[in-house]
Amino acid sequence: MVDVAEYRLTTPLREEDVRKLNVEDVVYVSGIIYTARDMAHKRLVELAEKGQRPPVDMDGSVIYHAGPVVRKLDGEWEVVSAGPTTSSRMNKVTPLLLKHYPVRMIVGKGGMSREVAEALKERGAVYCHYTGGAAVLAAKCVKRVVKVEWLDLGVPEALWVLEVEDFGPLLVTMDSQGNSLYERLELEVKSRLESLLGR
């Protein structure tokens, strides 16, 4: 059993700091994070494949699988509610994202695939879980909306650039050594299922 530790990290994240993180560690992130879902992932990868640069600095970046509820107050965007979305929808595109960009942390809910675990290991990045639906707590960590890109994709799918303070608690569930909390649990759950069904 590895000792569980708590870390406070500031963006841009450094590979050596991220490589120290283990499954079940708790992290709080401060700095700049980007929200991205299905459509923004697709666009980020398309840009890289065309040799073009995205509108944000991806070096040491944190990608948050989220589509916030926002409102405009006095011409400024405000994040009202911003919990994580289901990460598995991004399973297919994430290895490409990690191949093209030095992303250091992905935050979402529900976990990701073995292919993503391998890509995280290769890149030196981690996947962190944030409690699904804890949207107002997450929004409270957002100090300001720096900017929004790709609003043509719609509010949920746009790339929101958010300044956050102590965003967390984030639970490391997939580390940069290829370990995954989900895979460990899945094996246990599946073996229990067989006995529950009397097979």
Binding site: P68, V69, T131, A135, G154, Y182, L196
Partner: protein, 287 residues
């Protein structure tokens, strides 16, 4: 005839309430889950969930950013379908701006967002005939994370009740942490393919802990809940006991050669609000 302006106002208030404050039965079930959970990681998830529920109400903000697709259930008689539909669409548009809700409704092929949570057949409206003078209007907000984990099984009748259990358990296990457990599992058994899923949706409108009136069905609900909470998936899928808050079943007779099972999963944020509208236009929120 009931004024459409009343229906619109009631529907707007229900959407606001449902998006921000969870029903009492759901809050109680979450608190019980927190007390009963023994896994450390799982308990931490439930603590965060409970904190978020409190803060959402304090700050008057949607409890979850996925304010979902809006569905209405109308129970009563002599309903003016057309007028209802127009009032409920207007209420949805207004709620999107006023709460605010996240605009979630997109064209299924072009993915173009309508921007106001309405579109073809959306918000969903289900009319249920009930021989009452008053009308009960229920709104359910349901996110995609849980809806995407739903399933329809057409099992062999020979498999019987154990086949029903298999269908439900396999769906829950396959979903794992993705639909934001502790989940509410709504099951339709029997009927035809459309009806079985509709029944699962109608089960959504029943409060947690309210068992099916027929003992045989109620027993299956309790049994399934115990089985699901023995899988070890736990809150948010990080391991633990509390995988589901409740299981609710509705059934219909089906063809002798078929046994459809529709499993509709709802996340812990089981957002629903109900109002009763009287013939004179007065109304009250029931919860």
């Amino acid at each position: 005839m009931l004024k459409t302006s009343v229906v619109e106002e009631v529907a707007l208030q229900l959407i606001k309430r449902a998006s921000i404050a969870l029903p009492k039965d759901v809050k109680e079930a979450l608190r019980r889950a927190y007390e009963e959970e023994s896994s450390k990681l799982g308990k931490t998830q439930l603590k965060t969930i409970l904190d978020n529920v409190v803060v959402a109400e304090q700050m008057d903000r949607p409890v979850c950013q996925d304010t979902g697709i809006v569905s209405f259930f109308i129970k009563g008689r002599s309903l003016d379908y057309k007028a209802f539909e127009e009032a409920l669409r207007r209420a949805t548009v207004r709620a999107t701006r006023e709460v605010p809700l996240r605009p979630n409704a997109v064209h299924p092929l072009t993915r173009e967002n309508s921007g106001d949570n309405t579109g073809a057949h959306i918000p969903g409206i289900t009319y249920i005939y009930e021989d009452t003078d008053y009308i009960d209007l229920v709104v359910v907000l349901k996110g995609a994370g849980s809806e995407n984990m739903s399933a329809l099984y057409m099992i062999s009748p020979g498999e019987g009740v154990s086949g029903v259990k298999r269908a439900v358990l396999e769906t829950v296990v396959r979903a794992g942490g993705q639909p934001c457990p502790p989940i509410v599992v709504n099951v339709g058994v029997g009927g035809t393919v459309d009806l079985t899923l509709k029944l699962a949706k109608i089960a959504l409108t029943r409060p947690l802990g309210a068992r099916h009136p027929e003992e045989e069905v109620a027993r299956l609900e309790r049994e399934l809940l115990a089985l699901i909470n023995s899988t070890g998936i736990g809150p948010m899928g990080v391991g633990g006991k509390m995988t589901a808050l409740d299981v609710k079943i509705e059934y219909a007779h089906c063809h002798t050669a078929s046994l459809p099972v529709g499993v509709n999963i709802q996340c812990w944020a089981d957002r629903r609000a109900t109002a009763r509208i009287y013939p004179d236009g007065s109304w009250e929120i029931l919860g």
